[in-house]
């Protein structure tokens, strides 16, 4: 693939976040690709799941119709009406043109999640922090959604980033064809790989798919790319994998894999309001994770995996 072709390849991006310091080595820029094969109930980025541009409304920012009526004047499909002094969005009438109402809102209360960007556009933004990467060993981290769910775009991003001497890392749920993961991993300096649970039934119930593909992919990745640093992560989710048994199982599986590192991440509810913006109910409801539970499971993982546990 030529650089010219890669540069012009475009994909759907929903966020670019500078100064990320907890997702890979050094100071990094996270590029979030939209669309995911899973639909995890605890997902803290619900806007990452769909492959389409999505309209979202932060009612908290709305100034009310006595101050502003810009959005429903702007809507070409009459999908916006006034209810109880605030605009109501009828998502079935919405034609997905997104921009007019988003542009009209002065308070940034109407949001379009997802924007088509070329590789060149993305990397120009990423390269702005180049001096920080050079000093810290940081660079670009592809995240999602699932980056490999936009295969052409993510591979083009990684190839072109490589040409521009940007360090490359990727977060993946592992649910992608092996060939694709293999190709991507050849372009990466580091990978962060989610193993959510080995319990097939519950995995299916909570994410929409069984864990097999990810588990197989991880085994193969470690075997075939022995020099690639692989950091495995498990989000600890109440009612899903927050028991000793769940973590024990994962640790036993990981103990067999050479040269990986491992980390547990505690469930948090910071994504809840984004479900509301999207007009959805947060599937986890009010569930919370007790910090004692998390610390106990962390202690367990540390005992089982020793120095491999790096949180």
């Amino acid at each position: 693939m030529t650089s010219g072709k890669d540069r012009a390849t475009s994909g759907l991006v929903f966020n670019i976040q500078k100064y990320s310091v907890h997702d890979g080595p050094g100071i990094r820029t996270l590029v979030f690709l939209k669309g995911c094969p899973l639909a995890c109930r605890w997902c803290s980025n619900p806007e990452s799941q769909s492959f389409k541009v999505e309209l979202a409304v932060n009612q908290g920012r709305c100034l009310g119709v006595d101050q502003c009526t810009r959005c429903f004047k702007a809507c070409p499909a009459q999908a916006i009406s006034i209810q109880e002094g605030k605009p109501a969005f009828n998502r079935t009438l919405c034609v997905g043109c997104a921009r007019p109402c988003v542009d009209a809102c002065p308070a940034s209360g109407v949001i379009a999640y997802g924007e088509s960007k070329t590789v060149d556009e993305v990397l120009r933004l990423v390269e702005q922090d180049g001096q920080f990467y050079a000093r810290s060993g940081g660079g670009l981290t592809l995240s999602g959604g699932e980056p490999l769910a936009q295969p052409e775009f993510s591979l083009a991003l990684l190839r072109e980033a490589g040409r521009r001497r940007i360090d490359r890392a990727m977060e993946t749920c592992g649910h992608a064809p092996w060939q694709l993961l293999a190709e991507a991993s050849g372009l990466l300096n580091a990978i962060m790989f989610d193993i959510k649970s080995l319990n097939a039934k519950r995995h299916l119930e909570f994410t929409g798919r069984p864990p097999d593909v990810a588990v197989d992919n991880l085994q193969r990745l470690v075997k075939e790319r022995p020099s690639l640093p692989v950091h495995v992560r498990t989000p600890v989710i109440p009612g899903f994998n927050d028991t000793e048994q769940d973590i024990e199982d994962i640790c036993l599986f990981l103990a067999e894999l050479p040269s990986i590192t491992y980390e547990l991440l505690p469930y948090h509810r910071l994504g809840t309001q984004k479900y509301h913006f999207l007009g959805r109910e947060a599937p986890m409801g009010e569930a919370t994770l007790a910090s004692e539970t998390f610390l106990r499971l962390e202690a367990l993982a540390r005992t089982r995996l020793g120095a491999k546990y790096t949180a």
Partner: protein, 831 residues
């Protein structure tokens, strides 16, 4: 209690406060008993005004009228040295204070004595930085001190000398007691801008040798030369007198130490007192021979310096890790001292520093320097005069002392350069993470080439010392000027929008009438109107400075500052002389409200002239109503590109604004005989300046604080700290040498910097700051909830220290306005 969910990581300073609140023992107290015992004697207490300095100074000046000013000043110092009460504090190992025990401030009636009557009444109850005075002292001020200075103070002379068009932008009343807060002069509340002495000279030669130098020069004067006899002779005589004065002062301390020792029952303390007596008998008259002597000699020198004049931001300490190192090394090699003992001596200086308050008696001075602001900068790190890394064991000891004894004194400054060792940066980062705001960082890669271009040799530039808030000094090459203008450029923008007027000051025309903005058809018309007001403010500032410079030599002299300066001694000129041959006169004027003005211009350019989402009429009306009922307009304005996000649209406006100032300075500085350069350092002036500025087109509401220094407007920097640094870089005009310091505040939550990985990332962040050649950066590492809790419950959080503008202060000492300002500064927590 803090909300554990949001603040799951506390800085060690926050942890210490929580432990204190919970009644847990502070381990640091056990390890540093002496310093904490002294600290407890004054911590959190309201300062007292001590009048002795002003009283003896006035007594002497009354007797010497008609003589050369430098001679009068030296005689006044001799009179003070002979009569002022001397103290030996319990537990202290260093002696020398310039006023009563506890926290105290002293008066300089020669500067602004016309405020004294008002000040003794208002200071005790002033909201920002109060101080109390005893009834007897108040009587002395009103009956003995103030009357003599009536009609003689620098402030009165300046007020009279300013022509009406300059006066109206400077002061709000005919007497000049209240600032207009538009083009604000600062020369009347400090005798000079910040300064650093060549302390090494004191330690290595002693005042006896400095006096000998003056005597030799006296002997060599041509007895028939009028210049030698009228100009040089009184100067040199003054040098001799001031050298004797400080020696007398130290001998009086020695005598007191001996008397105190005689009455002391505790044998350990008795021995300490006798040792102190011996030290003060020797230094600063003779060269120091031990670390303890060097510390004592330096301390007496800086304290005596405070008696002499009100140096802007308090006299700085210079490169302490450099000039003290030979003494430390020798003592260590010869087994005379341990690291712990050296640290204890440093802490004795820190607790002594902390008791002196830089008292501003004028309302403007008080508003500019809230929280008893102080910048007696101690410089560590950097490079040697031949350009090698200068870090040594003492550099690390200063950092260790800051971590273990977290007091907001001294104002610790680390010089950072491309070759700084990793260990140094690592320990600097660890100290920053503690959360008291220290050290602030100054960048050699910006300062040194700039100073060379301003006329310094490489050797001098490599050896600069941090001075005051964020400046740098070359103590034997720099000369100085009076405090420069602080300019409220948000007011300039308001005058564009109100045709030369400000809402606060009604119909009075203050600026140019640049026309009704509703008639502006293009962005260029708006920009040109801004440039015209900008230029008028600069003209006013330079005019002020010209008058100030011409008055200064008639009002101030600084004999000790002069005897320590190579060029003053060479040319027999007092350091206050406006032009000293071979000197480089480095001064500046201040751009206040940078982020506010950039974002406002950016919003109008984008929304009014380009996107046409808003008419000028609609905008002006919304601002007239302080956005009441027009939150939609305010939100729209806030959505425009803002400075601090590495956004070219906003940053290019920032760069153009900077250029306006640089071009003016380039053209007109020479007429003032100085480098009157562009600086972006607010102290706390962005708060009082904000109080006169109505609503702004960036959505800022009327009378609220302006943006500070070269930092982004409150909450406008949404792209994280890397973008903040890059915007700062992008907005600089690197081709101009007329630039000076830019103050940059970055606030992190402790979580962002947690653990070893957090330190590593902070180190690389600092390295990149160095690569980008930014002048200054400082960090507040604190959880917002801690500030809110402290505001609610000040008693419990009495010892909470926060970084403000080149200095740190107790949070509870600040006015509610400034506290809210700190809470509003965006914290970077994307982790």
């Amino acid at each position: 209690m803090l909300n554990p969910e949001c603040c799951n990581v506390l800085s060690s300073h926050e942890q210490m406060l929580q432990d204190k609140i919970a009644g847990k023992e502070d381990k640091r107290r056990v390890a540093h008993p002496r310093a904490f015992t002294i600290l407890d004697s004054f911590d959190g207490k309201k300062p007292r005004i001590d009048v002795e300095r002003a009283k003896y100074f006035t007594e002497s000046m009354r007797e010497t009228e008609g003589q050369a000013l430098v001679l009068r000043w030296a005689k006044a110092m001799a009179h003070i040295a002979a009569n002022i009460t001397v103290y030996i504090d319990d537990h202290q190992l260093l002696c020398g204070r310039t006023g009563c025990q506890g926290r105290y401030g002293i008066l300089y009636p020669e500067l602004d004595g016309d405020f004294l009557g008002q000040a003794v009444e208002t200071l005790p109850t002033r909201q920002a930085s109060p101080a109390y005075i005893t009834p007897e002292d108040a009587r002395v001020v009103i009956e003995e001190i103030a009357p003599y200075w009536q009609g003689k103070t620098f402030h009165e002379a300046l007020n009279k000398a300013l022509p009406p068009d300059v006066h109206k932008l400077t002061y709000d009343d005919p007497e000049g007691l209240y600032s207009r807060f538009v083009v604000n002069e600062t020369a009347s509340f400090r005798s000079s801008i910040q300064w650093v002495h060549d302390y090494a000279k004191v330690l290595n030669r002693g005042f006896k040798d400095l006096k000998r130098e003056a005597q030799d020069k006296l002997a060599a004067l041509d007895p028939l030369s009028p210049a030698d006899n009228v100009e040089k002779r009184p100067f040199l005589e003054a040098m001799c007198i001031v050298c004797d004065a400080i020696v007398l002062w130290s001998q009086r301390h020695a005598a007191l130490a001996r008397t105190t020792a005689n009455h002391e029952k505790n044998p350990e303390r008795k021995a300490e007192l006798l040792a102190m007596a011996e030290i003060c008998e020797r230094v600063p008259e003779h060269p120091a021979s031990t670390f303890h002597e060097a510390m004592q000699a330096q301390w007496l020198t800086q304290m005596f310096s405070r008696l002499e004049q009100k140096t802007g931001t308090i006299i700085s300490n210079g490169r302490m890790d450099q000039y003290l190192y030979p003494f430390y090394k020798k003592d260590m090699e010869e087994g005379r001292i341990t690291e712990e003992r050296a640290e204890e001596l440093l802490e004795c200086m820190w607790v002594a520093l902390a008791q002196f308050i830089d008292l501003y008696i004028s309302p403007t001075g008080g508003a500019f320097n809230e929280g008893y602001a102080h910048w007696e900068a101690v410089t560590i790190g950097g490079q040697t005069p031949d350009g090698r890394d200068a870090t040594n064991d003492l550099s690390y000891l200063f950092l260790k002392s800051k971590r273990e004894f977290p007091l907001h004194y001294p104002d610790l400054a680390a010089r950072i350069h491309a070759g700084a060792p990793e260990r140094f940066l690592w320990e600097v980062a660890e100290t920053i993470k503690d959360g008291t705001g220290f050290p602030k960082l100054i960048n050699d890669e910006e300062v040194i080439p700039l100073y060379v271009s301003k006329g310094a040799s490489f050797e001098e530039a490599y050896d600069y010392a941090v001075s005051g808030c964020s400046e740098a000094r070359m103590p034997n090459r720099d000369t100085y000027t009076s405090g420069g203008a602080y300019i409220n450029f948000a007011a300039a923008l308001e005058m564009v929008l109100r045709n030369g007027r400000m809402l606060k000051y009604g119909d009075r025309q203050l600026g140019h009438e640049t026309g009704d903005p509703r008639t502006f058809k293009t962005w260029d018309e708006l920009w040109n109107a801004y440039a015209a007001q900008h230029q008028l403010f600069l003209k006013t500032a330079f005019y002020q400075q010209h008058v100030i410079i011409s008055l200064r030599g008639k009002h101030f002299a600084w004999p000790m500052g002069s005897v320590l300066h190579d060029l003053c001694m060479k040319h027999c000129l007092d350091l206050h002389t406006p032009q000293i041959p071979e000197g480089i006169n480095l001064g500046y004027f201040e751009y206040i409200g940078y982020g506010t003005v950039i974002d406002s211009l950016s919003a109008m350019k984008k929304l009014v002239f380009e996107d046409k989402k808003l008419s000028m009429d609609e905008l002006l009306e919304a601002m007239d109503n302080n956005f009441e009922g027009r939150e939609d307009v305010r939100q729209l304005l806030k959505s425009a590109p803002c400075y601090g996000n590495n956004n070219e649209y906003a940053d290019s406006i920032a760069k153009d604004i900077d250029l306006l100032s640089l071009e003016y300075a380039k053209k007109y500085s020479a007429e003032l005989g100085m480098h009157n350069d562009v600086r972006y350092v607010p102290f706390t002036s962005h708060v009082p300046f904000g109080k006169v500025v109505s609503a702004m087109p960036n959505g800022r509401k009327a009378w609220t604080p302006l943006s500070d220094g070269s930092s982004a407007s409150h909450g406008a920097d949404v792209n994280g700290p890397t973008s903040v640094l890059l915007s700062n870089y992008a907005s600089k005009n690197l081709g101009y040498r007329e630039r000076a310091a830019r103050l940059l505040n970055i606030k992190f939550t402790p979580k962002c910097l947690a653990g070893e990985e957090g330190t590593r990332k902070l180190v690389s962040f600092i390295r990149t700051f160095c690569d980008l050649k930014l002048w200054h950066v400082q960090f507040n590492v604190i959880n917002r909830d801690t500030l809110i809790a402290a505001q609610r419950d000040p008693e419990k959080y009495r010892s909470l220290i926060v970084r403000i503008a080149g200095y740190s202060a107790y949070f509870v000492d600040l006015s509610p306005d400034l506290q809210n300002d700190l809470i509003a500064r965006a914290a970077h927590e994307s982790c």
